[in-house]
Assembly symmetry: C2
């Protein structure tokens, strides 16, 4: 069983953990820093853990592609797999902690005008206090209550918000941090009382432009938006307008319709918009990488035993 691992951030401890697991299941291993490093004799591998999209397109022998990302939208187009039966797993569950910290950080930065303080301070200017808002007594709406939404809600709870409402397809989530859970179909009636709207949705046909111009207009004046899911979920033009005309308090986007964000995008110059370059869930955080590797190793055992894989993607649904 040929297994190729593609990840330049892995430490020796991670490699050792993967080696031990591979030995347990009789797999042979090749570690690559990028896809270009895969030698000819490994091009027909059975398993790839990493971003092996180039190999997947041509390798008819590939039976399982385990990607270290949570989103898998980039694998859902036709022609992505030479072997149409190839299993795909994502690493949903590894990013909750780091992305939840990002959401709290950018929410507070916006509410406390720390972006303003910071840009003044790097000019060497002692600025005056700006009007601040708070997570205390805030009405928080979380669109998408998977691992990320739950990890965020658990942290947000400690800030004593007025309410945390979760929204999901099923309207169900077992995490007690949500004061109430609602179905996506009720979204229009929930937006008017959302002081902070947190979006952590995958890219699927149902989530595309879910925050439309009409829905943006339903948010109360001064509301804040944080998007850490996929950029496709927001009508970016309408968002720009609602920020520039001052109706919204601010927005923090880590994801965009086009990434990297083109240098001529109007988003760069939009008022009260905090732009981060898709870093909320990057793998530089040790905890994230540890969990990611753990998940792959557990799944490798499942694979070898012929048991169902965790985080298996339904390629028809796209998640």
């Amino acid at each position: 069983m040929k297994i190729v691992i593609i990840n330049k951030l892995l430490k020796d401890t991670h490699k050792e953990q993967i080696r031990k697991t591979a030995a347990l299941v009789g797999g042979s291993l090749f570690f690559a820093e990028s896809e270009n490093d895969i030698p000819q004799e490994w091009a027909d591998c059975e398993i790839i853990y990493g971003f092996g999209m180039g190999n997947a397109k041509v390798n008819k022998n590939l039976k399982w592609l385990a990607v270290p990302s949570a989103g898998v939208d980039y694998l859902m187009k036709p022609g992505c797999f030479a072997n149409e039966e190839c299993l795909v797993t994502n690493s949903s569950g590894a990013y909750g902690v780091t992305i939840a910290e990002h959401i709290i950080a950018v929410s507070l930065m916006m509410m406390r005008k720390l972006d303003y303080s910071y840009s003044e301070s790097i000019k060497g200017s002692w600025s005056s206090p700006q009007p601040q808002k708070s997570l205390k007594d805030c009405r928080i709406l979380v669109l998408g209550t998977g691992d990320i939404g739950c990890c965020f809600a658990r942290r947000a709870k400690a800030f004593e918000p007025e309410s945390i409402t979760g929204v999901s397809r099923s309207g169900y989530c077992s995490d007690p941090s949500f004061d109430s859970m609602k179905k996506v179909s009720e979204l229009d009636s929930l937006l008017p009382s959302a002081d902070l709207l947190v979006m952590s949705l995958p890219d699927t046909p149902e989530t595309r432009d879910i925050l439309s111009r009409e829905r943006l207009a339903l948010l109360p004046e001064g509301a804040y938006i944080v998007n850490v899911g996929r950029g496709s979920a927001i009508d970016e033009d309408a968002l720009c307008e609602s920020l520039n005309n001052g109706r919204l308090g601010g927005a923090a986007l880590d994801v965009f319709k086009t990434e990297p964000l083109p240098s001529d995008s109007r988003l760069w110059n939009t008022k009260n918009l905090l732009i981060t370059p898709h870093v909320a869930g990057n793998l530089t955080l040790e905890h994230t990488l540890n969990v990611n590797v753990d998940m792959f190793c557990k799944n490798l055992i499942n694979y070898a035993k012929g048991m169902p894989l965790n985080n298996l993607i339904d390629r028809n649904k796209g998640y």
Copy 2:
């Protein structure tokens, strides 16, 4: 009983609340936006709620000065009061929520390199991911476990740190968010395992330069420091050096030995130093102002009844 209120941020609801309380105790009220607005006939008032330091110097009739700040160091010099028996109360307890949010915000900004992302983004540049640190599994040391330290610890707990250790004079704090409580005398042995050092101390002879050059050197490599108490607590020169030579991961200072920070201060150009202009506890946050006014009104009842005042300052100790 003449009562002067000095606070330009008060809303009508706050004024109404103060009016009702004053009526209850037979007090007469004057609302001023600043000390300069106090007319001659109110200069001999019995009570001031606000920054009435100018009046306190000359008004022999002043019996109680209620300041809206938590720190009172500026009132401890000789000559501050024409009436040496004048009672002083602070508003400790009103700032925990807002300052705790500030501490979480700047800690995450530093750990997640959001200062870097932000300064790149305002230049219109999509930067690459930076190595991130996390509050998850972080060893947090909180120097000063009053209202601010406790409010911070309660929020920090939700981020699943490895440990939160509190340090106070007594070594005692009833808040269960601290995994352990230690005495200030043990500080030297605690610093080597502090990944994040949070300082919320008043300015007193004991706290001046408590984070000396020697103690800074005890912190582990890559440690972060947040100071929201008083600038006098840190040897600023030694801090600059530890940041510029890369030994420390970063520092976020909201308070300084001299405020506003002089334009020629070397702190402005120190590496990995986040400067905010003493805004962590400003009164623009509605919640802070509400609690502040509540506290004064309760104390006004106590005063009228001849009962002990809450938050009474021992002017010998300075807190």
